[in-house]
């Protein structure tokens, strides 16, 4: 139990204090109070990470953590969008106003805009961090991205199959077979898994690459745009759910997007001073 809790600390914390913390737990004993204390400590370390070392290294680590947090928050927020849209509009909630439809459309536009900025950020990091890592033979850096790449390929093939089936057999579509529904369910589960591994992979790869500060600066500036898009998405989506006054699922999922936006905002707020330190160096 205590080993699991110790493993719950952020990687940067484990690298720096993990061995000492484990030794202290061995010395004090791993009773229920110690377990609770370690669990609370792990949560606090995630919510407010500490960075040690020289000021320039602290700033670099802060920016790297900020980028990772914003990325994970963006993925969580984007995952919420289709769920809420489906809950509100497919089938339409009785009495749902045109305003709600418009708000849901606005959310999709914000996803596109934020996605474009996030893609720009990802391209910059690929060019500045991942390609040099590949050239220097550090495959370890790329490995966390492989599950997402494989799942993306499988999901695309699945989507293509569904599209071809719909086009080739339009009469069957309204009354799908059980096997088809099962395959569709597997595809949907794969989509969720893709978002999860897609959210977790890049932060791990970034951590393994330990990119220099200059490689992170512009992506971090762009990431503030992703945070802005995520905040707009969460606010508009929450407004749509409140106006529709519909369902626990839509409320809960919209709440997840609000939490994700809060997390990204907090991280951006903490990253901006580090960007200034980076500029000064």
């Amino acid at each position: 139990m205590i080993r699991v809790l110790l493993a719950c600390y952020p990687p940067s914390f484990r690298d720096r204090y993990g061995a000492e913390l484990a030794a202290l737990v061995e010395d004090t004993g791993a009773g229920p109070r110690v377990c609770w204390d370690v669990a609370v400590g792990a949560a606090a370390a995630w919510l407010r990470p500490a960075f040690t070392g020289e000021p320039s290294e602290r700033a670099r680590s802060r920016v790297q953590t900020g980028l990772s947090t914003i990325w994970v928050s963006w993925c969580a927020g984007v995952l919420a969008v289709p769920v809420v849209a489906r809950a509100l509009l497919d089938p339409p909630v009785p009495g749902v106003a045109g305003t709600v439809r418009t708000l849901v459309s606005v959310v999709w536009l914000v996803v596109l805009a934020g996605g474009a900025v996030a893609a720009g950020c990802a391209l910059l990091l690929t060019r500045r961090v991942l390609v040099p890592a590949l050239r220097s033979g550090r495959r370890r850096v790329w490995r966390p991205l492989l599950p997402a790449i494989v799942l993306l390929a499988l999901e695309l093939i699945g989507a293509l199959g569904v599209w071809l089936l719909r086009r080739g057999h339009p009469a069957v579509w309204p009354h799908p077979s059980t096997a088809f529904l099962a395959a569709l369910l597997v595809w949907l589960v794969g989509l969720v898994a893709l978002v999860v591994v897609g959210a977790a992979g890049p932060p791990v790869a970034l951590r393994r690459a330990r990119p220099p500060a200059r490689a992170l600066r512009l992506p971090a500036v762009l990431a503030t745009g992703v945070t802005a898009a995520l905040t707009a998405l969460a606010v508009v989506q929450a407004a749509a759910v409140l106006l529709a006054g519909h369902g626990l699922v839509a409320c809960g999922v919209a709440g997840v997007a609000v939490l994700a936006a809060g997390s990204a905002l907090l991280s951006t707020w903490r990253t901006v001073p580090a960007l200034r330190v980076m500029s000064a160096h």
């Binding site: 000492e20 110690v34 370690v38 609370v40 606090a44 602290r58």
Partner: protein, 106 residues
């Protein structure tokens, strides 16, 4: 988690750690023991290292070379100054409180 029997707890972990390190460099377990002995407060491992990380980040303590699992920490000059300032304030508060009590309950 900081455990203390009474309800008027005064110690917060960073202050307790700085106070402990004022007596010389110590590793984690030694800090826990020292604080328990001198302040009657038991600090959990998560609390201790959370506070130590924050103090190190602010440059108030620094790690000394040593065994990775028993790394000692010491106060920096900034840490000593911060501790001194806080203890002076606490001392002033204590003197004022005691003086007021002596008037109310001579």
């Amino acid at each position: 988690m900081v455990r203390r029997a009474d309800q008027l707890s005064w110690g917060n972990p960073p202050l307790l750690i700085l106070g402990s390190l004022a007596g010389g460099p110590k590793h984690g377990y030694a800090i826990v023991q020292d604080v328990a002995e001198h302040a009657g407060i038991t600090m959990g491992p998560g609390t201790l290292y959370g506070a130590l990380a924050r103090l190190e980040e602010r440059g108030l303590v620094e790690a000394l070379p040593g065994d990775e699992r028993r790394r000692p920490y010491r106060l920096t000059a900034a840490g000593a100054q911060a501790l001194s300032q806080r203890l002076t304030e606490m001392s002033r508060f204590a003197r004022t409180g005691l003086a007021r009590l002596s008037v109310v309950q001579p």
